[in-house]
Amino acid sequence: MAEFRRLSYSLIKYRCLIGLCPLFSKTAQTQNLTPCLCRYKLQRRIPSRYVHTRSLVLSQYMKSQPSRDDTEIDIVSEEEKESRLETVQELVDNEEDDSALLEFYVNKAQNEMDYMDDVDYHDIENVNKRLFFKIVDVWLKDVGSAKRGHRDFVQTLLNSLSRFDVECDISAYVKLLDCFPDGKHTGLKRDHWYWSGFADKISDHLLGQQLMFVINEHGAIPNDQLFNKTTDLFGRFSPVTLKARSLLFWYPRMVAHSPHPISIADFKKLTPTELAFNGLRQINPGVDCHYHNFAVDKSRCKEVIDSDKIDSIISCQSEKQKEQLAQHDLSIPVYIEGPFVVYYRLKKVQYYVMRANPSQAKVEEPQNQRTTIVSDKEWWSQFYGVDYQTSKPYCGKTLQFYPEEDFFPTVDIVDGYGDKKSEEISLIDSDTQSAEGPVYAIACTDYSSPVALQSWVRGLILDNPVLREASVVFREEQSFMLNAPKDDPNESDYENIDIRDI
């Protein structure tokens, strides 16, 4: 009786392998089956007790149980069986399994960190990043060439990339591709344009697609290594390679639309002054701009600023703005408006603008006076008959070096076919100038007191002596960006309307 029970238990345990037995399967009699082609039988539905998704946790659990020899009779009551299954099912259904798996490997990797890691990952300074790569190496060593349970492992790491500061690093995603089982008989590769449509292992390809999606979301820069590895793993005709190819194709084209592109990885390393400089370069474009960093007297300032914020005042002024400021009318004050806010990538930068009012900026020419030119550059060159800079003689009275050539006809190069076309943009282009005055300079600082602005003006006086005599007035603005409400202020207008009435 006991032997019969033992046989029945072993049959139940290994019923997945019944297909191999020629006595119990018809297909085995008709075809010459080898173990490799029997995969359909092996992949039949298996109860959750034997599912390999939690293989590691289960194996740990099973190891903790005392081992029983086959000679012993297992008289196990049904209640004990159910309780054992319940505990296993709880582990399977419990949401803490991901963290348990991750914590297990984090602790293991931390214990196994040795001097060889300094050699392998010598270019990585961040300890958390090194830990990430070490975790993957430890798992690969534990698991073996079959790489069982790779989907869970890759998914848990994908969900916890920010913990290791590795989300912007493409080498981490390339390393994750090492966790997939690689070989001829995995059934993963899709290399034929037609037969790939009938292929299996869809969950692996879906996981690969999710990996590409995460790369795009976090802003990591794709490289050829990523694409080559995906083709070697998943094949040419898989949606994973398509996504990797589209990442490689579109990333430089999207970046080309921005004037000063910067990756998120480099953006996170920026200091506050570098952030202010880049923000000013975005606001005030121009190759010939002058940038200065003026120190602020902190003892006189009322507020105390953190180390993350901009302590000093960084100013930016272009050549054209300098010339406009030099022509400023001294009877009218120069206004400093602020504080305003601009977004630079993910962070906000606070800035102040030095400008004049619009109607007072225009210099009105007196109309009743009669003016005559006494001497001019052209007059002198006509007087001497020689060019001032090159000392070349002119030909005749005209300011030309060579005589007119009548052999070749003169052609006026005009855009189009010489038709007179009407322009509309030039009619409306200059409307806003009448409402807004010229900008003289822009500065960035996180201080809100006028002490910082005083140091800015003091610093600009060297290049712009007009500021010594003109009066500078600080006009505090209430900008929408600093005081924007989170709820719609216009909602009260249609509170009483009901959609059923319409």
Binding site: S258, Q282, I283, K421, E436, V439, E476
Partner: protein, 332 residues
């Protein structure tokens, strides 16, 4: 001393988002009274009775208080669409006049004699009625936006607050291995469709020009400038270009050749594998969309949108043509 800038915002025109009622599940209030029969004892003091404003109480012989329903004033259901007929008659006259007018008077042919053509500009407050605003509030989001005239009364200001707070419908998955489903707040400003005779949909024409020119002043954020093409059979393709605004007090002029627009499905977020030339004949509208994933306020001032002819820009481009397209397009 705080003084105002150039001038306060005198003309305040707010174009409202489409009416969205807060359903009771969201904790909203239904202010309309319902017909209820309330039986009260004789000795119950009046102050404990349910109060409804403006109702008429009828005390019957049985001391039952019945609250009458208030008269609900609904807008009149118009049978003849007179306004629509007026609009259609305007276009009928226009087409008839164009048959007997010269080449320069007709709008479509006058384009051939123009160097630039300004399509939208906001010098009057009535010009704002050609645009409307949509937010993610329609599917449970929490961002808001408005369109009003700018401070200098010559531009349009599109501003609001973009929130990344997830809607209540978008629950996290029960599977512990799956991460939270992706969601980003979205806000866009779109032109109204062109409707002519009997509300027939007309499309924009980009013929005669090479590029789109925009003059705007943003806040440093990345906006998507889109042109939506109606391909029929409820298939809509959007031609997108990202605009990285500089922000600041200075105006920004952007020239975008037609060739640089990237095709994507309007419903999906991915660019199409098959990139072909833009469908000029069926372009419906312009759209400024914000979906960059940064929570915070936004502000975009638009001066004008024009079409220009620039001979340095190419007419047929190879920027978005992928040599791997024949292979990639056949993959399922």
């Amino acid at each position: 001393m705080a003084t105002t800038a150039v001038g306060p915002c005198h003309s305040r025109l707010t174009v409202m988002t489409p009416v969205i009622r807060r359903w009771l599940a969201y904790g909203g209030k239904d202010s309309r009274p319902l017909l209820k029969a309330v039986a009260t004892p004789i000795n119950c003091p009046r102050r404990f009775l349910p109060k409804v404003g403006g109702t008429r109480h009828q005390e019957t012989e049985n001391q039952m208080v019945v609250q009458q329903e208030e008269v609900i004033y609904r807008p009149r259901q118009v049978r003849m669409d007179w306004l629509g007929m007026k609009r259609s008659w305007k276009y009928v006259l226009k087409t008839v006049r164009s048959m007997f007018s010269s080449v320069t008077e007709n709008e479509s042919t006058a384009r051939l004699f123009k160097k630039d053509h300004v399509m939208y500009y906001f010098r009057n407050s009535e010009d704002l009625s050609y645009w409307y605003v949509m937010t993610d509030e329609d599917y449970g989001g929490h961002s808001w936006a408005e369109l009003r005239q700018g401070l200098n009364e010559m531009t349009a200001m599109f501003r609001g607050y973009l929130s990344e707070k997830r809607p209540r419908d978008l629950l996290p998955t029960t599977d512990p291995l799956q991460p939270q489903p992706p969601y980003h707040g979205m806000v866009y400003l779109e032109t109204r469709p062109f409707l002519t005779i009997l509300d027939k949909r007309e499309y924009m024409s980009l013929t005669g020009f090479n590029a789109v020119k925009l003059r705007l002043r943003g806040d440093g954020r990345k906006y998507d400038f889109e042109m939506v093409c109606d391909c029929g059979f409820e298939k809509r393709i959007a031609y997108v270009v990202p605009i990285y605004t500089r922000g600041g007090p200075l105006w920004q002029e952007i020239e975008i050749p037609y060739v640089k627009f990237m095709a994507k499905m309007e419903d999906g977020g991915y660019l199409l594998v098959r990139q072909r030339g833009m469908g000029y004949a069926m372009l419906e509208n312009f759209r400024f969309k914000l979906q960059d994933g940064i929570e915070g306020p936004f502000q975009l001032e638009i001066d004008y949108i024009a079409l220009i002819q620039n001979s340095t820009f190419p007419d047929e481009g190879t920027d978005n043509k992928d040599p791997w397209e024949p292979i990639n397009a056949t993959i399922g």
